[in-house]
Symmetry: C2
Subunit: 236 residues, 2 copies
DNA sequence: CGAGCGATTGAAAAGACTCAACCACCGTGG
DNA sequence: CCACGGTGGTTGAGTCTTTTCAATCGCTCG
């Protein structure tokens, strides 16, 4: 058995308020809820693959997902890390195009799949929701412009500092972590976020650890000195 | 006098069909046309600046525009080059946010400014247009994921080859160029597209010229061997 | 227990950047 | 008309970051 079905009610969903579906009226919500199917994915399962066509959208109930693109040499570039409450796959669906990227679970994750027709119907009926979607896309576009710029201009060290701060947010969000969020990724994934070789990444992590900016236990990374990292990241 | 006003009718506009406004019904088009103001910008004039707030959108009637973001060290990263028919500035406006990037003319350009209220009204009324806008944003998101990946993974040489091919398209589009498009950019701008130092860019251009892949006359670059460049760019 | 993956370290090589100087072209003002 | 200043283009040399390759280690899983 590759995956397990579960029942989740949108109305009772713990991540509802933090998701893009948060603002839906009860009518729209019911429509989204009606035909969706929720599945528990195991760690490192591919949810969708670059080049295939979307049949609907996924809403993350729990777990983290990496969105990545495979480069010419087979190396993955991670574009973003999604967490509970995030919705994925709607862009390619709306543009009636193939997925430009792939999605894979980083840990066990529960995803709700909403069929294309239901999603589109709600989008057509609920102009507030349309607005929400458009805003979300705009924000993503802006943050990708940021990433592009730092990838082009900043040395690896600065990018790593920035990535650690970003990941602290992502990993601190859900758990009952009292500010002690632990980043849990393979060194390779981390390198593919920062855009560098795994070895380089390991060496820099080592430096940061020596400087007491972070702590590591196995693969887990705990960010200690946000302020100093912000300075290193050259964020203005 | 910094800029000159001119009159252009959307209904007669030469770039109408190639723009996102192409599919508008005559009613919507009239609404877009009504309150717009068209201005001739000189070369190297800033149209809007990162961090300011949009009051409407711009439609490019003629000329090329660079969209860029200024990095921490004051170096610009060019995100895209827009040409006649393209619309710019709607994302920040729709997300009710500041511009995440700046826009500057690369040559004399005629831009039509459409006030926010008119644009939003058409967007609300015309669901086809909403669809068009969403698609355009999705496509941009996909192509930015591409850029991100090649910036992170490909050496400068490959990125330059890719950029030249892309620019050939951009510069070949309008003119009555019979396949002999000439790229006309400063070396610095070109370096800021590729994401490298100006000197590095110049050296690589020199190599390409030696290999008869391109021709240069002053700052102008003519792409000769598309196929070979595609291979160098490692496009799959 | 052996295979294999992920993490780590070392050493060498390569790619790209910086700095500095110089050139070429162009518009301006004397 | 020509010297001048400035911008953009080019070249060289040295340096440094980052990558690559190779090898080792630790741990988990079957």
């Amino acid at each position: 058995m590759r995956s397990r079905r579960v029942d989740i009610e949108c109305g009772l969903c713990s991540v509802r308020d933090s998701s893009l579906f948060g603002g839906l009226c009860s009518e729209s919500r019911e429509e989204i809820n009606r035909n969706k199917s929720c599945t528990v994915y195991k760690k490192n399962q591919v949810v969708f693959h670059e080049g295939t066509r979307p049949l609907g959208v996924f809403c993350i109930n729990s777990g983290k997902i990496k969105i990545y693109k495979t480069g010419a040499e087979g190396k993955d570039q991670i574009i973003q890390i999604l967490k509970a409450g995030d919705i994925m796959g709607y862009r390619a669906m709306l543009s009636e195009d193939q997925y430009p990227v792939s999605a894979e679970t980083l840990e066990e994750a529960t995803l709700c799949f909403i069929p294309k027709s239901d999603f589109l119907h709600v989008l057509r009926e609920d102009s507030n929701f349309t607005q929400t979607i458009i805003k979300s896309m705009s924000r993503d576009l802006g943050s990708m412009a940021d990433s592009l710029t730092s990838l082009a201009q900043k040395p690896v060290r600065e990018r790593l500092a920035g990535a650690l701060l970003m990941l602290k947010e992502t990993y601190g969000a859900d758990d009952q972590s009292n500010g002690t969020a632990e980043i849990n990724l393979t060194r390779e994934d981390l390198a593919n976020i920062v855009g560098t070789a795994t070895e380089t990444l390991i060496r820099l992590l080592h430096d940061f650890k020596e400087d007491k900016l972070i702590e590591t236990q196995g693969r887990k990374i705990k960010v200690l000195e946000d302020q100093k990292l912000i300075r290193i990241a050259n964020l203005y």
